[in-house]
């Protein structure tokens, strides 16, 4: 039997996986009945190579990248039916050899152990890979306290951003009196550019359900809620399926023989506000109130959903749990650094050759991720910085590329580990603009509850907007620094407290870029449209007049065959001339 597997997570679908799947499915119907099985799987991590198709036969597993419906036809005819792999299109053979082997080599898959290997819609696939063995082990052999001790010793820390020790959180909740408690899975994933949680939910939903059940047993909860953003329709569909399969198979809503433990999970769709990822806002939202944070303490472990003790963990955190239970805390703790154990999933995006989902052992350096795994910067440009932790995080400059993936070490830089967003920037990225972009995001997403975040971020944003438009004034940097620190110390929730991080870190590492914008009205990265001058190089200009003809405002003058000239006072910086010049004679200054 030959199996064809198509990656149909959101990353695949957006690259055209639906079409590929359709093509293959009709081919299988037509010519492959009884010989070929067509399957789907979640994100395999190589988002940059989507659509991914794997052919698995007696000769091993062959992974094809950049598959189009036409290529799919060829694969079907030549490889599946003909038995000859299309060598030039295979990117990986048996996950080991091939042009893309570097991508996987340095990775270590714990949270993503099943992603890309199982059909997420099939509980049998999950069961075949030790699925629900962990909860079974827990129920049969571990007391609640032993379980919590196990998670504590593993060193697992929350993957949702703050890195709070998971075992400690569970212990607080366990110690609370009362029989009504809740487990919440935070699948709100609001960071722009982050898709770690989505990939896990789409690729391996059962591992999250199992993690939640284990947590439920640990703290004495009977109910779980997955708070998933409504913008993840595919994840929700797969979660629904997984819940109904797990229920039918007797894992959920079912009292385990010999125990009084049964667990129920429901899904709550979030309305897509970033702040709803904050745990108290999330709880308010589940309860049907406005999703705004409230002061802590009391922490949710003491007073959470419906006023009852509640633990909230991130998707990735839960996905790690069954593995720890099955493999033991030593196995987990053997990976990583003294204070950061295990692995971390990152969504690497931006100016990078192999953008996608990577899971790396803690302790690996940023440079290793960028160069060894992700193949370096696109178009041979220079690595400038990486933004970690999304809008709450900060940027780490290339000069600090040796920084290790470790909660404390990253925090030292002013950035944060965050939930796993990693935006790679090259020399053409303006750091002021980058800071502005993230601040605009947070400013938009501020719930408006507290003064410093509601108004303070707006004031900062206004200043940044002026700076990138060339209207910055002396003293702006000082005000930005002051405001940033004020908001940090006076805002109520994490959103406000971290909102200034992108600004503060870029000010720390790229202050000269701010100064260039403010004092010289220049954008060193030549990226801020209003600060760029388009200039004609007299050496190269042939006087072909193409630029002058194309300028929408007639800013370019010059006679045929003579050097042309751009009148900066008239130019509207549209950049049209640079694209039409055939002699590379126009440059940005």
């Amino acid at each position: 039997m030959i199996t064809i597997t198509v990656g149909t997570a959101t990353c695949g679908v957006s690259a055209g996986a639906d079409k590929v799947l359709e093509t293959l499915s009709s081919l299988v119907q037509e010519k492959g009945q009884g010989k070929v099985v067509l399957a789907e799987t979640g994100c395999m991590g190589m988002c940059y190579k989507e659509v991914l198709v794997e052919v698995s036969n007696g000769d091993g597993k062959f992974l094809y990248g950049d598959v189009t419906p036409d290529i799919a036809k060829r694969i079907f005819e030549e490889h599946v039916l003909g038995g000859r792999p299309i060598e030039e299109l295979v990117i990986l053979h048996n996950y080991q050899e091939g042009p893309e082997e570097g991508y996987l080599k340095r990775q270590r898959r714990i949270a993503l152990r099943n992603c890309g290997f199982v059909d997420p819609m099939s509980i049998d696939d999950y069961l075949a890979r030790d699925g629900y063995k962990a909860i079974e082990k827990v129920l049969k052999t571990m007391s609640q306290d032993e379980l919590i001790e196990e998670i504590l010793s593993s060193g697992l820390r929350g993957r949702g951003g703050a890195g709070f020790p998971t075992g400690m959180k569970w212990r607080f909740a366990r110690q609370q009196p009362g029989s009504e408690k809740y487990v919440i899975c935070n699948a709100d994933e609001g960071d722009p550019g982050a898709f770690m949680d989505r990939s896990i939910l789409e690729g391996d939903p059962h591992s999250v359900l199992e993690g939640m059940m284990i947590a439920g047993y640990a703290i004495g909860a009977r109910n779980g809620v997955i708070y998933c953003r409504a913008e993840y329709p595919k994840a929700i569909v797969r979660l629904r399926q997984a819940i109904s399969d797990a229920t039918a198979a007797g894992w959920l809503d079912h009292t385990f023989p010999g125990t009084d433990f049964s667990f129920h999970i429901k899904i709550k769709e979030g309305a897509g506000a970033f702040v709803c990822g904050e745990e108290t806002a999330l709880i308010a939202s589940i309860e049907g109130r406005r999703g705004t944070p409230r002061p802590r303490p009391p922490y949710p472990a003491v007073r959470g959903l419906w006023g009852k003790p509640t633990i909230i963990n991130n998707v990735e955190t839960f996905a790690n749990v069954p593995w720890i239970v099955l493999n033991g805390h030593e196995a987990f703790a053997s990976v990583g650094t003294p204070k950061s154990k295990g692995t971390k999933v990152f969504a690497v995006t931006g100016k990078i050759n192999r953008g996608g989902l990577v899971e790396v052992p803690m302790g690996i350096s940023i440079n290793e991720i960028i160069y060894d795994i992700c193949g370096g910067i696109k178009d041979n440009k220079k690595f400038k910085a990486v933004q970690m932790g999304g809008p709450s995080g900060g940027c780490i400059p290339a000069s600090m590329g040796d920084t290790k993936i470790d909660y404390e070490e990253i925090t030292q830089t002013g950035a944060i580990m965050g939930s796993g967003g990693m935006v790679v920037m090259d020399e053409s990225t303006c750091m002021v603009e980058m800071a502005r972009f993230f601040l605009e995001f947070t400013q938009n997403e501020s719930c408006g509850k507290c003064t410093s975040c509601r108004i303070g971020t707006l004031r900062m944003l206004e200043i940044l907007e002026r700076i990138v438009e060339g209207k910055g004034e002396a003293g702006d940097i000082d005000v930005l620094l002051e405001l940033g620190n004020q908001i940090k110390s006076t805002a109520q929730c994490g959103l406000g407290q971290t909102a200034a991080n992108p600004v503060l870190t870029t000010l720390k590492y790229f202050r000269e870029e701010y100064e260039a914008h403010i004092h010289n009205k220049k954008c060193p990265a030549h990226s801020c449209a209003l600060l760029v001058n388009y200039v004609i190089d007299p050496e190269k200009c042939t006087g072909c007049t193409v630029c002058a003809k194309n300028c929408p405002v007639n800013a370019i003058s010059g006679e045929r065959k003579k050097t042309h000239f751009i009148d900066q006072a008239v130019c509207i910086k549209c950049g049209k001339c640079i694209t039409v010049c055939n002699f590379d004679a126009i440059y940005k200054d």
Binding site: R290, E445, C447, G448, C450, T451, S452, L458, S489, T490
Partner: protein
Amino acid sequence: MTDKLVHLTIDNIPVSVPPDTLVVDAAKQAGINIPVFCYHPKLHPVGMCRMCLVEIGRPLLDRASGEFVRDADGAPKLQFSPKLETACTTPVTEGMVVITNSQKVADARREVLEFILTSHPLDCPICDKGGECPLQNLTMEHGPGQSRFLFDEKMHLDKHVPLGELIYLDRERCIQCGRCVRFQNEVADDPVIAFSQRGRALEIITQSTPGFDSIFSGNTTDICPVGALTTADFRFAARPWELKAAASICQHCAVGCNIVFNVRREALQGGRMVIKRVMPRQNEQVNEIWICDKGRFAYHYVESPQRLTQPMIRKDGALIEAEWDEALDLVAKKLTAYGASLVTLAGGRLSNEDLFNLYSLTHTQGGQAVLYSYMAGGDLTAQVGIPPQTDLGKLGAGCVILVIACDLHEEAPLWWLRIKAAAQRGASLIVLNPRTTRLDRYARHVIRYEYGAELAALSAFQPQSRGDLPEPVRSAVKTFQEAENVIILYGSEGLGLQESKALAHACAGLLIKTYHIGRSNNGLVAAWHNANLQGAWDMGFSPINNLAETLSKAGVTYVVATDPAGDDPQLAEALQHSGFLVVQDILMTETVKMADVFLPAQAYMERGGSYTSGERRLQRFYPAVPPPGNTLPDFAITARISQRLGRTAEEQSPARILLQIAATNPAYAEMDYQLLAQVHEQQPLMGRHDLYYGGTTYENRQGLGAHLSTAASRVEPLNIPDAPPPPVFPVQEGLLTVVPTTRLYDRGSLLIHSNLLHQRLAHPTLTMHPKTAEAYQLSRGQTAVMLLEKTPYRVEIDLDEDLPHGIALLPRSVGIPLNAPQAVKLRPES
């Protein structure tokens, strides 16, 4: 007791406060002001504005021993959190050290203020709050002298948004503290306004139609820390610093809310002193710091053009202005001639002093002192009412409050607030009413009975009643029987005078039988429909069943502060038949038009006096504005008549009249004006210079009043009359039984003069179950004609699925004289 306190220091001042006290309140008790915007001592803290940030250190605990870790010198080692903490959301803990006067704290305050100010219009010169504005005051104290931001970057937003017709919102001024929203949610339980949008776009909106549909809406303007919320009444009307404040008592229901009339000289009105607004005055035992919108907006009658200010005498059929002496001489002459056939009909808004003089006059004449009221039982509340030391604001677990035949939200709004809060604190509320009311949602037990069956419903609670009670009655009775304290409150839902008498008697009987009398937190309360009906009973007045007949037979009728002819054509006819008619009032009414002599009285805010509230708290009000024209206080007019009849009567000083009352009525024995003017410190401390804390409510400096004793609490023998005959509920084939209900915004003779409230006034609407309407072939919105004592009245039909079948509701005081359940003929208007 002291071991229950938590000890901490705030700026090195040691403080001991009960556990769960918030740092901000603990500081207040130590005399340290922590500035706040969003926090309000009557609302749940939310930590929104960040104004109250302080440094907090806590002693380190040794995990093993649970003891404090100590330095070499024995002082507990402190751990300060790296971030400032909000004093408004942080409860005190043992050994806590709070620092509010450090540079760090000062910086945070300055910065938060700077943020707020950068998105605030700073239009103080035209802002109604200017002068009593927390933002203004705190900026002066803690703010930056200068802004670092460009004025042009300020957002411009709508400045005159009517949330409803009573409250306007200025979106630019709002600082998003959420006090208004929380007040409506938590205190008023009318979630009709809310936050919409997020981030800097966060704004207040109304979610109800009509807008801001809440009878407590005005309170939000008191606690709004800026000029974002203003009342339609006061906006752009005056500057706070021009206003003088006169303490008073609200006149519009039995609660007796403590208020202030803010007055100033008005150029537009010829330099007269006029009332500019009504504000609450703190009395934690009565209204805390709240008042309802009726109390806030219904004062306008005092400046009505229909005020009458000169005595009048009927000459050749017409009322002609006369001098006081002439008018009073004429009255005295008639009284001398007709002596004992005097009938005095008094309204419930008269003060105790007025009523005392009136009663003395009537009594010495051998006449009859009649109270114009459809409720009874004032004699019973005087004996078995709630005695001193009873505080609705403190009732909680172990207390039963049984409310019967009452739509409390409409009949006595502040009691509704306080009983709701008592229920939320753990008091067991039992509600017996024929239809759903807004009190039901807080009740432990709700019992429905059919209109007319209130006595039967109550009888289940009699100690001897056993047998098989159905649920929910059985559990309610159990709760009742297990209660340590019981208060019974009755209203006038669906009742006439006879029914009221029977119900009051039954309630009193039940309390006596179950020994819930004479002790604090036990007894009977009536939700009277006027401010001083209890006082009127105490002064000797009571209502009668056959009012029309009595009036028609009177030789002299003396009608004071009420308008029977305007209310009821039958009474108008009776007055036609009565002998000499003396009418004493402040405004032109139908009754005045019939008078032989008219005597112009002063409105209560034009003179001093006292009211006895439904809880039997005696409270004093003060003159606020000078009386117009040739008017006199009611007590003085009556005194002058008495004097002409050769008797002594006090006409100058209400204080002296109260002393006379004290000498004759044991409940009032220790009462005098000095006592009523006494105050003590109230918690939470409000209404002082720190407006940011409690809002613009007034501190009570003019008197908290005094609770009257009852016969039971004085351990005197009770004098309970025999049970009145049980009334028969009128049901007649082919006729529809209509029952009266009470509405807050009725068309009463005072309320009608406040244009602001016109949109909300009740209409002559007959509300019934759709099935009932069907039986009479009526539909919603249709006009029908209802025959009452042969007079046809047009009514509009409204439907309500929640109502019982076979009856219809009609509000009182909407121009149709239905004062008791009555079977009427109804037909669609042709």
